[in-house]
Assembly symmetry: C3
Homo-oligomer: 364 residues x 3
């Protein structure tokens, strides 16, 4: 883990607060902790309004709070008002990271197995027991941790970091400054078959996977190579753990794709999409820019720019929300219809009969 030793002045430099409340009784901060776990000397933060009530009882010596926060520090405690407490904490944590981080190693570990035709920058690092195939290019400041397998004709561009046990299969191209977590498979076989006499024959998958710059891929996620051409993940898109992306999918820039999302073959997603956990998209869809898809949704039709949908099959978010509320009232609705029918039956046998009778009687 890490130990820290920050003065208030240094914290102020890092987070640039708009206001400081309270007077500290510690000289240095020595830890970071959640509001309810913090003790004297710790830095904490109010990153989610849900925890607002915990600020008051927190034993943290310093708490980063939003500018809208109303409340006073305890004796000996300081509150720092900042625009975004979570971002402010990140600034501190990034500073800690910088201090802890050893410089990235360079060179090729003696146990790595490198094809003679591979070109590896002398400023890259290839860890223990990595395997790098023919005609692969690994640029400077790339770090492959232990046990990474890189296939043939792969290109990994500058500054990309790859955790253990990844399989970066043939022809994959990874942009600059990507982060590939442990166990990721890039270039797995696309799932495509043609059935003949009851047998499924694999459709050849000749394409590849392309990650543009600054893409993150979470642990044990799999991205299939294209049938031909490419499966492409746009710049700055962040993919969580255990996601599955089918062949020929194209995802735009700066999207969030949360854990267990499955995107079927040939679906195209625009920029700035947010796809909630466990959502599934069928194949050959066209999803626009700035689309938000709720967790566990099942998407089976195209979505226009700025769509905000949820459910299986998906509905506009507010409608889905309303229908969920009404669904909960189904027992009531059934009772109400029962009552209407009963009263009705009563009426049609009594009142309305009476009405008819009065008519008949009038005819008499």
């Amino acid at each position: 883990m890490f130990t820290i030793h920050y003065t208030l002045n240094r914290i102020i430099e890092l987070v640039n607060p708009s206001k400081i409340q309270g007077k500290l009784d510690v000289d240095v901060f020595t830890g970071i902790a959640g509001l309810n776990k913090a003790k004297t000397g710790d830095i904490s933060f109010l990153g989610n309004q849900k925890y607002k009530a915990e600020v008051f009882g927190s034993k943290a010596s310093l708490i980063l709070v939003p500018e809208s926060y109303i409340g006073s520090p305890h004796p000996g405690q300081a509150l720092l008002m900042v625009e975004n407490p979570s971002k402010a904490l990140d600034a501190i944590c990034r500073d800690i990271e910088l201090q802890c981080k050893k410089p990235l190693p360079t060179g090729i570990h003696a146990t790595a197995i490198i094809d003679p035709s591979a070109r590896i920058s002398p400023k890259a690092y290839v860890g223990p027991l990595c395997v790098v195939g023919p005609n692969t290019i690994i640029e400077e400041e790339v770090c492959l941790q232990a046990h990474v397998v890189v296939g043939e004709e792969v290109l990994i561009r500058r500054g990309t970091f790859v955790r253990p046990h990844c399989s970066i299969l043939d022809s994959t191209e990874i942009g600059c400054n990507c982060f590939i977590d442990a166990g990721v498979v890039l270039g797995s076989e696309g799932y495509g078959y043609e059935t003949e006499n009851g047998c499924h024959k694999r459709s050849p998958q000749l394409g590849r996977v392309v990650l543009e710059d600054a893409v993150d891929v979470g642990a044990n996620t799999t991205i299939d190579r294209a049938r031909f051409h490419e499966t492409r993940i746009g710049e700055g898109t962040k993919i969580d753990n255990l996601v599955q992306i089918g062949h020929n999918v194209v995802i735009g820039k700066h999207c969030f794709i949360i854990a267990f999302v499955g995107i079927s073959g040939s679906t195209t997603i625009g920029d700035y999409a947010v796809i909630g956990g466990q959502a599934g998209l069928t194949g050959h869809l066209c999803v626009g820019n700035h689309v938000m898809i709720g967790a566990q949704s099942g998407v089976n039709h195209d979505l226009e720019d700025n769509s905000f949908v949820r459910g299986t099959p998906t509905l506009p978010y507010m409608l889905a929300h309303r229908i969920d509320a009404l669904k909960r009232r189904l027992p009531e609705l059934f009772r109400r219809v029962d009552n209407l029918e009963k009263t009705f039956a009563y009426l049609t046998t009594d009142t309305t009969k009476a009405c008819f009778l009065s008519k008949d009687e009038r005819k008499n």
Copy 2:
């Protein structure tokens, strides 16, 4: 990737079209691309009716279209009418694959660690840093890529291909011509516990995993060993990435199991099932032949042959579809019942009262 160089005559040989329209202005085809991305020299295809409108605007020099397609090629472009354009494209891609593919290597890489009691065919290939346990048999034309771990008493039969980082654990048996993608775990521990005084005690898992011939297993999928006896995947069944198959599950022949499907322990599935992505099946179920289960379904009861179901809990497909449509109309239904009640209240206070009154009056 790949480069291609096909004449029209060679394509005709490969796809056997029933009709050719148009006159080419290129001599050779040099690429394959989707309809809207293709450029002069490219082969494209209409594999999904959704893209029909794109044929007309496509710059591909040659387009494979279904026999039912109505439309004319552009000047310089050819349309080839074929029974199944996707299958026809596969024929071309398979030819490309054959040309690109180096002959499978044979032999054991110097860095592989093989137990002396393992028997490995001299016509098999065991890649860098593989580990093969005692009493394991690897038949001819098997290819283990780098970093495959094979346990004890495993049998891998002829022609099976295993991608990097797979764990083929003790006693697993894999048939001929299977394809095991990267990161697959065969023989993970079954999830079975008995609880005693609040503690969960693992039930010993003594069985194994058996894959019959021509089974494909997608990247990072896990298949648990049986509690005793076996977990079995039938011949020709194709499993996608990130699927979980519980202990003692038996899956029939020629099924499709899509990504994120979870099948709980001891469930049995017949032949030719298609299980959509993110569907879940509880344990101890009996699912018949030719069953289709929609994506994201939750199956908690047995299914007869030819069932076609969807939803959680599952309903017959058409009923599920109808109920989804009605669910969307719940706001309307609530309004209609509100109206009925209001008019009713009005009637029972005015009209029917009036009726009664008229009766009373008549009595006067």
Copy 3:
């Protein structure tokens, strides 16, 4: 696999039956099989009432049945009445396991790569091609199978077993007697970003993962390191394959977390929870003790102790069940409201009109 050779006396010792019915015509039992697959010489068991009808037709020589079972053995067959047949079978299987199991090896495989500063008990085993980082401590009776990568400052306590291809990343702490199945990632990067000018900037993740004693983690599951402090899994909790646990999640003791469950960041779960397969929990939730969450549920609010919920969004289990039943009756409900409206329209145009008319007439 395994071969067995048990006399009736030995079985009686192992399972301690309350009653024995029937007279055997075999001297030893030589296998274990399900009721409908068993043959003469096999032991079988009735572990699930669903299979009750199969006891009568089973060819097993010995069947473990619950004390409530009513029925007679076939000639030559014995029924052993026990409190819990599944537990009784476990007792037999545990005995088989003991007989089959070689003593755990000790020592460090010649091909493992160990940082000089790591401290590995001479009674631990580090398998082929493992990599162990600086300042890591591995206690006695730990077994790392082949291809395990262990990062820096990791602690793996006594008796823990780790299958191939696991990534136990920096600062992780694993308690005693844990079982980590193949392909698991402990300490993957937490999924946290702050967005600035449309770009997502990773929040530093400085924390770690802690597994308490006797935790099981299924194959290819991923557990993210905390943003700061720790992601913690309580003692005796059993996690299935392909689960995703986000950063700063805290799970209590003796829980069951089934395959494909996703738990988002900072959610806290009490002791003895059971979370069904493919369920998802959003972040920052507080879930109590003894909570049961049905498969495929989507939880987006806190849950009190002893909650039993299901659905997306979740409802109390019985209500969810009732609403599912009513949902299925929506076509009927729409018809009933249609009918009410029609009759009503008829009434308001005829009868009630008549009523009004009679009123009007009376005015004439």
